[in-house]
Symmetry: D3
Subunit: 324 residues, 6 copies
Amino acid sequence: MAQSRPMGERMYGELALFSGRANPELAQEIADYLGVPLREADVFEFPNGNTYVRLHKSVRSHDVFLIQTVCSPVNQNLMELLIFIDTLRRDSAGRITAVTPYLAYARSDKKHEPRVPIAARLVADLISAAGADRWMTIDLHAGQIQGFFSIPGDELTAFHLLSDYFLKKELDDAVIVTGDLGFAKKGRNFAAKLGLPMAFVEKRRGGDGSETEALTVIGEVKGKDVIVVDDEVATAGTAVQAVNIVKEHGAKDVYLSFTHPILVPPAADRLRELPIKEIVTTNTLPLPPQKRLPNMTVLSVAPLLAEVIRRVHLGLSVGEMFGE
Amino acid sequence: MAQSRPMGERMYGELALFSGRANPELAQEIADYLGVPLREADVFEFPNGNTYVRLHKSVRSHDVFLIQTVCSPVNQNLMELLIFIDTLRRDSAGRITAVTPYLAYARSDKKHEPRVPIAARLVADLISAAGADRWMTIDLHAGQIQGFFSIPGDELTAFHLLSDYFLKKELDDAVIVTGDLGFAKKGRNFAAKLGLPMAFVEKRRGGDGSETEALTVIGEVKGKDVIVVDDEVATAGTAVQAVNIVKEHGAKDVYLSFTHPILVPPAADRLRELPIKEIVTTNTLPLPPQKRLPNMTVLSVAPLLAEVIRRVHLGLSVGEMFGE
Amino acid sequence: MAQSRPMGERMYGELALFSGRANPELAQEIADYLGVPLREADVFEFPNGNTYVRLHKSVRSHDVFLIQTVCSPVNQNLMELLIFIDTLRRDSAGRITAVTPYLAYARSDKKHEPRVPIAARLVADLISAAGADRWMTIDLHAGQIQGFFSIPGDELTAFHLLSDYFLKKELDDAVIVTGDLGFAKKGRNFAAKLGLPMAFVEKRRGGDGSETEALTVIGEVKGKDVIVVDDEVATAGTAVQAVNIVKEHGAKDVYLSFTHPILVPPAADRLRELPIKEIVTTNTLPLPPQKRLPNMTVLSVAPLLAEVIRRVHLGLSVGEMFGE
Amino acid sequence: MAQSRPMGERMYGELALFSGRANPELAQEIADYLGVPLREADVFEFPNGNTYVRLHKSVRSHDVFLIQTVCSPVNQNLMELLIFIDTLRRDSAGRITAVTPYLAYARSDKKHEPRVPIAARLVADLISAAGADRWMTIDLHAGQIQGFFSIPGDELTAFHLLSDYFLKKELDDAVIVTGDLGFAKKGRNFAAKLGLPMAFVEKRRGGDGSETEALTVIGEVKGKDVIVVDDEVATAGTAVQAVNIVKEHGAKDVYLSFTHPILVPPAADRLRELPIKEIVTTNTLPLPPQKRLPNMTVLSVAPLLAEVIRRVHLGLSVGEMFGE
Amino acid sequence: MAQSRPMGERMYGELALFSGRANPELAQEIADYLGVPLREADVFEFPNGNTYVRLHKSVRSHDVFLIQTVCSPVNQNLMELLIFIDTLRRDSAGRITAVTPYLAYARSDKKHEPRVPIAARLVADLISAAGADRWMTIDLHAGQIQGFFSIPGDELTAFHLLSDYFLKKELDDAVIVTGDLGFAKKGRNFAAKLGLPMAFVEKRRGGDGSETEALTVIGEVKGKDVIVVDDEVATAGTAVQAVNIVKEHGAKDVYLSFTHPILVPPAADRLRELPIKEIVTTNTLPLPPQKRLPNMTVLSVAPLLAEVIRRVHLGLSVGEMFGE
Amino acid sequence: MAQSRPMGERMYGELALFSGRANPELAQEIADYLGVPLREADVFEFPNGNTYVRLHKSVRSHDVFLIQTVCSPVNQNLMELLIFIDTLRRDSAGRITAVTPYLAYARSDKKHEPRVPIAARLVADLISAAGADRWMTIDLHAGQIQGFFSIPGDELTAFHLLSDYFLKKELDDAVIVTGDLGFAKKGRNFAAKLGLPMAFVEKRRGGDGSETEALTVIGEVKGKDVIVVDDEVATAGTAVQAVNIVKEHGAKDVYLSFTHPILVPPAADRLRELPIKEIVTTNTLPLPPQKRLPNMTVLSVAPLLAEVIRRVHLGLSVGEMFGE
């Protein structure tokens, strides 16, 4: 077996990094980290609204990573991703990895009532149908969405970034709180890593069929610092409820930690007015100035994505990055 | 073989007609023609930009026709179509026909230069991947796009509507002109039906690599009425050139005839200022007031679509509608 | 449109009901409810261990529902399901619905650590690959598993059966407890329907890397009746922990409610020794005498499955059974 | 379940019978038996050699059976079958059954040496790729070819036709002989039905690598009537060897029985000169006058195919035709 | 990223070049250009008409290019291509590119009337179904056929070969003429490259439904040299019409230029009798002596195909060969 | 073409060898032969019966060969194979070859009666659906099963091992006997290699419909040594019949030779009591002590499998191992 290559040698051509128009700053950060240039392509709409892509140079046999976060305008950015993949495929790329730091539609992941779509599975199918060979994303709303893809891929997590940040704060008398019971288990992991107890905010529709919701805090928050954790914040409705009710129950400092800063209006306004000591999030979505609040800390996922891209390209283990 | 059903009996369940949000007026016209109600569904965006669909009643085993023209905003309307199809499929519809009176991306139907997509094939694949069983559309930019679908379907044409309209005018000394040589063959069919001669406008880039285009009229237009024919008008750039040059060459009255009134700015302004006697088009795309010019005649495709839907539902020949 | 059939008329042939060997009693109950006989088939292993199926009569064009719960021995019952489907398909069944009241492998629904399978997606793919047209199951461990199937199907729930049973008990001073945070959200629905508060048992590995787990009760249970709710009970390890700790924290009567009685050893022994007032479950899995404890109430899912099979066969809405 | 249709009611539209150009006489016989007309279609080659099909009337939603035996010129007839299927599919047929009384390439069913095709699997895939929903054929060279199709279908057999014919002859002191050991097991079934013993002709290449073959008769033929059985006769090389050697070993009357009369030159000449009392075959392939020898009896498979088409169309059991 | 391979390094095994039986001379020319031998394989028909392929040596992991033009007999050559691909695939080739310098059925690319096939899409599907990974061809009748393939591929063009040839002639007072309006746009590109004006021959069926066609020349040809351009010439019917009518309209020298010399009878006879100064074509199809006219210039596409094969094999850009 | 790699260079990553739990001894032998370690993985059942796999180290881009014979318990071992493949695929293996020295269900390879499965095709589809890229197995019951796979693969044979072993015995006055006519042709190859004559045991059901079978020996065995050959022995029913009847007909020494020692009870007991001089088989299935009889010779297939794995990994011809 002497002819065998050394471990970790890659089987694809040259690495080529492209960015859609959704979050070019993040893509540039990743490129800088990897020390490779972002490849150039024209991406634009014709006057009739049709999106078009034109690569400047051939990617024949290349190992392509296309970075396109699927933030708002969601359908626009998603179609751009699909058309970009088609372009790469028809230019005979060797392998195409769709890197979507934030993947939209992840909350439409099951039929919780009849006659609705499972849009997350649809999106996974569309990405395959367009010609992607692999996917890469960060902190899916539900881990099961991994299984919506038939092509292999990597779900990464900003959990270590965020929890390490709080570890350094050495908050001794704090409690982890989830504003949504669907995040209870992931919240527990956060609490376990920081060695802190947990509490939950439970929401319940009024028994009289009204739209008003009754909120309960289950567990102890009185006199403690509180870290409200979640995977994403969109309108901040859940966050507002959670912060307010723990404050009502006597919480001291309140922190808010989440991976995906979707922050659609009126999220920024709402958060600005809340008694939050610090908001800790990442740059999986672009954060224009009007969304950047004074008490917001944004941790970059670029080193994480770059290192995983490097390992995928070279055929090295990704799991061992995390000691797994 | 006595147990055989009479010819034309359908094999699917009840007909169910739905409309996306792109052209509800046309959908309503079709429903009225068929004498069946439009089924109700909630179609909306969540604050995070994700499109959602919720059917009011079950379509289990139904023969569903979903009407959604893919006009601007193109990517939005296309994703709405796909998510709507997914919803119908997961509610166990018996058969789903995607009715797109105008199908976007049809001009991205080949690689005329390297490193570009074939978005029309991608769109056909996406419609299949979402779960449609059939497609129906009107006047594709190229008939070959029929072959981009692996599922069966029907390409209809507004050719008869438009040419019959001009036949009634009895323009004796007229000529059919195409502004784009890619439409030459279809223009010939128009000319043949009206018994008129043809002429062509040829466009050519300047030999010095400049952006200026040289225009030529090939064939006779002097002293004749001219009908400029095309499949669609978007910015009206081609139409402006054609109308102006035939006028320069001595044309009398000029008519403009096309199926799809995309009419993105500055099309309406441009057309308003042109010396056109009459613009004849259809309602495959919605025509809001600002696009409706005083000299514009809009022929409705609703009877055509309705009759074909009826025949597809009942398993009757579509071709014999046209004596074919 | 006068030729249209009345609503709800089915598009497939005669209904045919088959049962694998995993839970024939349940299949017979369903057949009795529907008033149709179970079709006969030989299902056996050859001496070499190969499973074989032979239908007694043809199912050509029939609308077949194959009932096979995927209980222990799991792989045996699953392969029997797949081979049975292949037999039906190759005998030209009109439509095949795989009815698995309990679907194994549902807990392997994501990669919670690197280098492991997503067996639930694999199982969904195998069922499709064998030739099923539809699936039907009860209370998946995660609703997202619906999206693992590309073929349409119906996830039913025993939630109404179980919660209605407790509603009749009129337990006024009770609390709903989940022993696993992953069930927190579904537990909340249970609590909301009964108008009761919630509490949670939180499990955490020892910080010193040891195997011992620290248990906490979050929320109030002292002096209250407790209903511990879950989707399934296998070895009853989680149930034992939850019952014991709520008792330690002063709970009065303790009830245990779950859909799937997997009850592998030593579950029956463990449950027998616990201070539980009543165990309420269903018959999605067979319950041989040694698993039926004196304090166990088994609610039958046969009427639910039968009614849904009837509606699917006839093309009627399933959702409206539940007022949805 | 009162709304259920009576057993055997079909789920597809009207039956439509088409014939390719390979064996129109057989197709007409089938049509006559069924009492339905052959549908009309133009099937021809353009001057450039491209095959074309044009249906005279629509088959929308019909239950189409396309009869095209894949005899010589094999590739021509196969491509005609595929293009015909594509035509039917794109005209929205409800169901398409490819009826190939003789299916070519069945002897290329495995790799008996490296670097060769498995053309029979390829053919099965091509028939699916063209859009057939089902297949129907007679006496495949190997039953396993059934499994090459992923779509359902029916392999019929002329075994009963042929063996019943010989049963009526009441040959008391006869023996069944196979000229090819690959047909030994099917020959045994023939022998068992007639209550006759068996013998085998074994062929072996010379040990010196020469092309000459050594022939052996294993079993007793002396003084007996011999029926040489096979599935098909092409050049008749094997038949010549078998007939000659059993004659050399003292056989009395020799009969030759096979399903598929491929009979490529010099088969007819060879058979004419052999001391064969009677050749019994069928019309799965066309038999022009020059292939019809004076001692040849041709049994028609038309009633068999017609009856099975009727049953498939109506959703009735095919197996019970044969008491199975 | 130091471990990255230099640009252009290929990811497949050794290049292996095979030829079907359709145009072995062209394949040999390509092999000579590349400096690699044509690999050996037995390709033949069994007496029963079944085509067979047997490779002499293994192609395991090789990067295989199979050259087989799909000329007449079309169905024979196409099936040979498919069976050859199956052979390569089952011998575990690393990558298979189907190189069809001329691809038949390209004119059956849409349903221009009801109830006809789209054979070009079928052919694309068959090539995929057989196991090809890529395709390569020259001057498709319609560029859209690129989109009929879901596998990637390269459409090359002989346009540069042909137009460069005419550029050298320095015909100053010439005009480009198309005999078919479907070729108008490609004819324009030819005219633009040569800096010449255009004219068109328009064909129209008689208004009385008769078969006679009325021909018109649109544009100026009088006293000019004429180059009639097309993609292929089959029976030469269109060419005869075009040449005759431009002569009638006073054309001086007439040239005929086209890529694919199909030239089925009576093309050679017709062309021989026409007043054509020179016929310029290529060798995408074999040109036996009886098709080679004295005034015919045949430009070889072998260097073009060879260079593209080399680039595809090495993962180099193909577009930059043409400065694109 | 100077950049071309030398012949035989592989295109995949490092070779990685894994074993399921069915026959770890054989896997270890193969690993030893190759000089590479068996990779480690946890393979176990959860208490609920669900099989689980966890790889110790990443296989990203590796060329993985997974060895799992599908012996009894068949369904258990098969599901373990599928789940293992899914694990490898989702860990982004570069290529996965499923090595099943013995592949169960191979006898369910056609519908010999109506309403039964073709389980062997199903198994082939399941292996593909799980994500295998290639397959490798030894002596399929029918070579046609190769064609059940759409992915490429290699069927190896123990024929050379077994026949070489008998060649060395120099049995001059011997005869090859098959106990099943379905093995007649493969038996002939055995006989031809050893230069020995053949005889056949023919089995036939009693004409009175009873279960008793009439046995006949066709050919000469009297006074000769007999080698009874088959592909596998399960319950040994056929072997018992064959040995007994040839002894009754005066055979001298009797040998039994077969590839797959399935040997389910009461095979070992039956064989122990038979007058067999020597049983020659291989280790494609595990042979625990209770199955190893004193007169049994077990030839190892490990060198064969190892050498083929090496060649597949390196892209070298497998056929030339056997001079083909």
